[in-house]
Point group: C2
Chain length 395, copies 2
């Protein structure tokens, strides 16, 4: 039987990050590769209590088909949380998705014809980049600086490429860099997007996980023209295995996303949605977020301390004020794919910066470190080991 | 802000069936429109026990990210169940999907370029048809007869349209017709597909829900050449709200489906997968299926009895031996979309045959009835009401 795969996915490869999960089962492996919260923060007792209640009070609702838009009480609760942060207007609607990833995929499917362009941060989130690639979008690179996207380059890129349909950004505690876009740049970004008549996809799974510094308003809360499509998730603030995220955007975009979701998975698992909804009803999720962010902050500080102790001084690194990741640059002619493989040999998993590049043809000496998962002890051993690998290259 | 939707989804409409769910909340509405098992068959107690066990024994596994392929024990259990029915070989692999719908969407995304063709049964399942449309596939119509697809027309269609990439069929207790393809036609179908070098997508969510007649082997169990991609689901035999289905196909197709699923929803909710897995481990799902199928059979017999009592004798109907649906044809020049609307006015929801047509430009006088959901009392009232609506057209 001869057959060929569709053009759009012929060359699509699995995420190197998710592939690395398979190596993580090796005994003694220290992982700075994942992107999940510390599991010790999951509210296990509470969720167990909730599940019990659901099965004694409304089991049929949890097991029966639901509507594609999502579980109505969860939609309302999510809109209320967003509205407290001044996110969303009467012109918007919200759909519950199977994680934030699905929201990104639905938007791409709904908006991108083959050859249409998407302006992406360099570095950016591989899951989104691969979703874009899976519809044969052209990715245009816009560098991220210490205070976010280089707006001049973005402006120039949009001027030169009229096929660009939207700008993809993770403005707060960016994955993978940990960088937060300044308020000034946010305003500039909105202006530039408006001037060029392109939409913005704001991906904000980490925004509430701040452990230092001051809140910066989301792009969506600064948007008076309905140009921002806002993706959020309960994965990083409650539990990722439940697969509950959402898309808030102008009504016609959400309506089209609903039609696309209907043919994709009909609706997000109802039990998962009800668990999140009951959690929001019965417990204080802001307390849960604070607890989780504080732990992340403690671990981040430790990781930075060990980096400064064990890495050669010419290795640069970011200083996140929240989220789950920081970003290093070896600053030398070292290919980070090979470098990451050497670290895995020494039982430390990291993510090569190569997977975060919209343009995969460029070599990079960068890599991503997750600071939320490893224990304090392993944090030191892991960073020391990476330091040894760096030194093994000599000067 | 000006923007246009992508060509592939510009004209895509929501499923009429799912839209009709919104009317179902009207008091007194009798629904023959849905496609779900009778909720009284859901093993609520068992699932509650299981959820408790999961949260006391392995809560972190349930709440943490999982791998894209699916929860390993569930993959193994599903393969074992399939293997007991002689489905699948060493050359196949299996991915857990977010319902059978997702398996269909992933296959389409992986295989169909714009303008590629898919041979579809007439009538067929709207969820699949819309998934195909959402990638701009061309749909080719092959009529379903009392013993399944017309194989001569299929053969001719494949000869004349070399762009056809696969044949989509629900051979057992078809949605919407309730018809089962004969063994002879299954063998012919495999021969024709092989001769024309096209794949087959066998969608089998209802196959185990037999209440009369004798089992017919699945296409996949008759396939020695790896040309059948097999989609199954726990939705109709356990609980649809959990969104757990699967795709079994040759390894390279499943590998590509994994890459596509990674960018779609990362993985299916782990808690849902663990619930299904534990259910398979601790309870006898075949008993559960038998109980559910028996109830369906009883209700189907009742519905047929009432149809024969209340419908004019020139209305034809199928006689399913399993599944959830039967199919009627008014056999007159009545547009079934208008007819379905009149039934809804009289508080009975049915599904117009129009939504089941690969070619939406053709009018049809057919409609689908679900017999699993309504109570015995409502079955009689609902069918009697539909009979009155038919008679209101006069002769």
């Amino acid at each position: 039987m001869d057959f060929t795969f569709a053009q759009r996915v012929k060359d699509l490869k699995g995420s190197a990050i998710r592939e690395s999960f398979k190596a993580l089962s090796r005994p003694g492996m220290i992982s700075f590769a994942g992107g999940m919260p510390d599991p010790s923060t999951y509210p296990v007792e509470e969720i167990n209590t909730i599940a019990n209640e659901i099965f004694s009070e409304t089991p049929i609702t949890a097991l029966q088909y639901g509507i594609t838009e999502g579980y109505a009480p969860l939609i309302e609760q999510t809109r209320k949380r967003l509205s407290n942060a001044k996110i969303g207007s009467e012109d918007d609607s919200l759909i519950i998705t199977s994680g934030g990833q699905q929201a990104i995929e639905l938007i791409t499917k709904a908006l991108i014809n083959e050859g249409d362009g998407i302006a992406c941060e360099v570095p950016s989130f591989i899951g989104a980049l691969n979703a874009f690639r899976s519809y044969n979008a052209r990715l245009y690179s816009v560098p991220v600086e210490d205070d976010g996207m280089n707006i001049d380059i973005l402006d120039k890129t949009l001027s030169e490429n009229k096929n660009i349909k939207f700008i993809y950004t993770i403005p707060t505690f960016q994955n993978p860099s940990g960088i937060t876009m300044s308020l000034e740049k946010r305003k500039q970004l909105l202006d530039v997007a408006k001037r060029h008549n392109v939409l913005i996809l704001e991906d904000n799974p980490y925004g509430e996980l701040r452990f230092a510094g001051k809140d910066v308003p989301t792009l969506k809360s600064l948007d008076n023209d309905g140009i921002v499509m806002y993706v959020g998730s309960y994965s990083k603030i409650l539990a990722p295995g439940l697969r509950v995220g959402f898309l808030l955007a102008q009504k016609d975009i959400v309506e089209k996303a609903v039609v696309c979701k209907q043919v994709s998975d009909v609706h997000t698992g109802v039990l998962s949605q009800m668990i999140v909804s009951k959690y929001l009803e019965k417990y204080d999720i802001n307390e849960q977020i604070k607890k989780s962010a504080n732990l992340n902050g403690k671990k981040c500080a430790l990781m930075l301390k060990f980096i400064d102790k064990y890495f050669p001084s010419d290795v640069s690194r970011t200083s996140p004020e929240g989220g789950l990741f920081l970003w290093c640059d070896l600053g030398r002619d070292i290919d980070s794919i090979e470098f990451a493989a050497k670290c895995v040999e020494k039982n430390v998993a990291i993510v090569s910066g190569a997977s975060a590049m919209p343009d995969t043809s460029k070599k990079t000496s960068t890599f991503r470190l997750n600071f939320s998962m490893a224990s304090e002890e392993k944090l030191e051993l892991g960073i020391k080991t990476i330091g040894d690998v760096i030194r093994s290259y000599g000067r």
